[in-house]
Amino acid sequence: MGSEKREPIKNPRIWIILGILLAMITPWYFPDSFGEILVYGVPLWAVIIILSSLLLSAYLSYVLKYHWMLEEDEEEAEQKGAK
């Protein structure tokens, strides 16, 4: 990753993807029949919402890990210096 500073808010791609995921976790795009099809007792639309939510959590973890680097390098250098 190098010493490059990264802040999530400055990266428009992140917010486009988060916008799409936000649209996916809102149940506006399902036909009514998705309420009748059951998967192990869970309506199909709810299954898709749950899968989309998992996707959102995964993407957030990814962004947190790789696209938020403001202090980490300096803090780690400090820590090493302190030891």
Binding site: E36, Y40, G41, L64, L70, E71, Q79
Partner: protein
């Protein structure tokens, strides 16, 4: 609440939880004797919270006993439409991405202790800081009141009324104040960890017990298909609107809770903070998801409950599960003890933040800036104690009229968001526009709540917030910020 397992075992478990909390306080005190001279040490744990402790203390600010006892009845009544309770906890983490990275950095740079102090640093305006502080104190006070009422009801329910409501409240408030005073943020965060683990364990046992005893989701779905197919159906137009408004409002609202913001400052390092958030992003499935399933199972287990009766759903299900065998019996006692402990853990975080705003911002910045940190701490602690005393009285003797003013929490707390977040990025944001936005947003949100108005299924707090943002942005575009002010703001933000 009528519980089959209430009585002496409930008293035993509550006494045990109380003793553990006190023990944590005493150990923290003995190991950190120096913390009572410094605001940083007392209110932020010396900015040294590690991943696990930070994670559980964030967990305690978002999930309370209410999540366990109050969410299943909503799922019971609304069916799958209440599945929104899972993603709305995830959007909180999304909202943190908007401001936490920069706020952590600035918090470290300027050694910020409270969110109000950021307002002071950024706007250098007494009016803005005091208004923001008062909004936070008022919102936090009502939040605390709600927790105190819940503690009282929980204790009297779990002990089958052997311990009356009032005694329950006083018992836990005394314990909470003692361990809070002994160890500050460290005590609060360590007890949050213990309380969070107890709650998670209990909820999972209730889920397992419910599935064994009442049948799982397919059984419940068969019942809904036959008797209430709308609970399985795709939400309709207003349902979708309400769903989306919850995602936005809970996302932003819970992220800017003052006690949640303060935890950003308490992180040991950026890496620690990121890891805690990353774990939080997965927790909704293990907490809100699990209690949601419990509520759905309840539809089949106890069909046809009225709204009032359905509020007792978790108690009924836990009682049935507890009567299965001795393991489930104690697991349910632990769960209900854990619910009360979780409410205490939310209350202690709120109280600590309440005191810190008094110590650091109102008393420490304006009333007596020359006071020693020790004195500022003492004033914060004492004012916090007086506030709790008043709130206990309000809880016992609820006023007949004007009760609504004790309901306003979220509507007020969310109004600090524009000044807090936009101010992190926009140098030209005008101080007067921030003040006007915050004030007008508060008036709109609270009067809508007081007069019971509602439009398009969008929450009152969100209406206030929209107007607030509008005033901040439009006002700043029309009013000129002097070159000096803009330069100063740029320097403060410094990125």
């Amino acid at each position: 609440m009528e519980l089959a397992f209430s009585g002496w075992s409930g008293i035993l478990i509550l006494a045990m939880y109380g003793l553990i909390m006190l023990g944590v306080g005493v150990v923290t005190f003995l190991r950190n004797r120096h913390i009572h001279q410094s605001l940083d040490e007392y209110y932020l744990g010396g900015r040294g919270l590690g991943v696990m402790v930070l994670f559980f203390t964030f967990f305690a600010t978002q999930y309370s006993g209410n999540t366990v006892v109050g969410y299943p009845p909503s799922a019971y009544r609304m069916g799958y439409e209440y599945l929104v309770s899972v993603p709305f906890f995830i959007t909180i983490i999304m909202a943190y991405l908007l401001f936490a990275p920069r706020l952590y950095r600035l918090g470290k740079k300027y050694r910020l202790v409270t969110p109000a102090q950021w307002f002071e640093k950024r706007y250098k305006s007494k009016a803005v800081t005091i208004l923001a502080s008062l909004l936070m104190l008022y919102g936090l006070g009502n939040y605390l009141l709600e927790q105190l009422v819940a503690i009282g009801q929980g204790v009297s329910g779990l002990t089958g009324g052997t311990i009356p409501y009032q005694v329950g409240v006083v018992f836990f408030v005394i314990i909470m104040v003692i361990y809070g005073w002994l160890g500050g943020m460290r005590s609060v965060a360590y007890t949050d960890t213990m309380q969070g683990i107890a709650l998670l364990f209990g909820v999972f046992m209730l889920l397992i017990g419910s599935i064994i005893y009442f049948g799982g989701l397919p059984t419940s779905a068969d019942y809904m298909q036959a008797y209430s197919p709308e609970k399985l159906g795709v939400p309709d137009g207003p349902g979708v609107m309400n769903w989306f408004s919850l995602l936005v409002m809970i996302g932003i609202g819970a992220a800017v809770y003052p006690h949640a913001i303060q935890r950003i400052f308490a992180a040991k390092s950026e890496r620690t903070l990121k890891r805690s958030f990353s774990r939080m992003a997965w927790m909704p499935f293990l907490t809100a998801g699990v209690v949601f399933i419990i509520g759905i199972i309840g539809i089949n287990a106890y069909p046809g409950l009225t709204e009032g009766e359905s509020e007792q759903l978790v108690g009924m299900m836990a009682s049935a599960v507890a009567s299965q065998n001795v393991i489930f019996y104690w697991a349910m006692v632990l769960l209900f003890g854990g619910v009360i402990a979780a409410i205490v853990s939310t209350a202690d975080s709120v109280l600590l933040t309440f005191s810190s705003i008094i110590s650091n911002d109102l008393y420490g910045s304006y009333i007596n800036p020359d006071a020693s940190e020790k004195k500022k701490l003492l004033v914060g602690k004492l004012v916090g104690l007086v506030a709790v005393g008043i709130l206990i009285l309000v809880a016992w003797f609820p006023p007949g009229t004007l009760y609504q003013i004790f309901v306003l929490k979220f509507e007020l707390l969310v109004q600090i968001a524009p000044g807090l977040i936009i101010g992190l990025y926009w140098n030209r944001l005008h101080t007067k526009a921030v003040f006007a936005g915050m004030l007008v947003g508060t008036i709109i949100a609270s009067s809508m709540t007081l007069f019971g108005l509602s439009y398009f299924g969008i929450a009152n707090g969100l209406w206030g917030l929209l107007v607030n943002v509008g005033i901040c942005v439009v006002g700043s575009l029309f009013m000129t910020v002097s070159v000096v002010e803009e330069k100063e703001a740029k320097q403060v933000i410094g990125m």
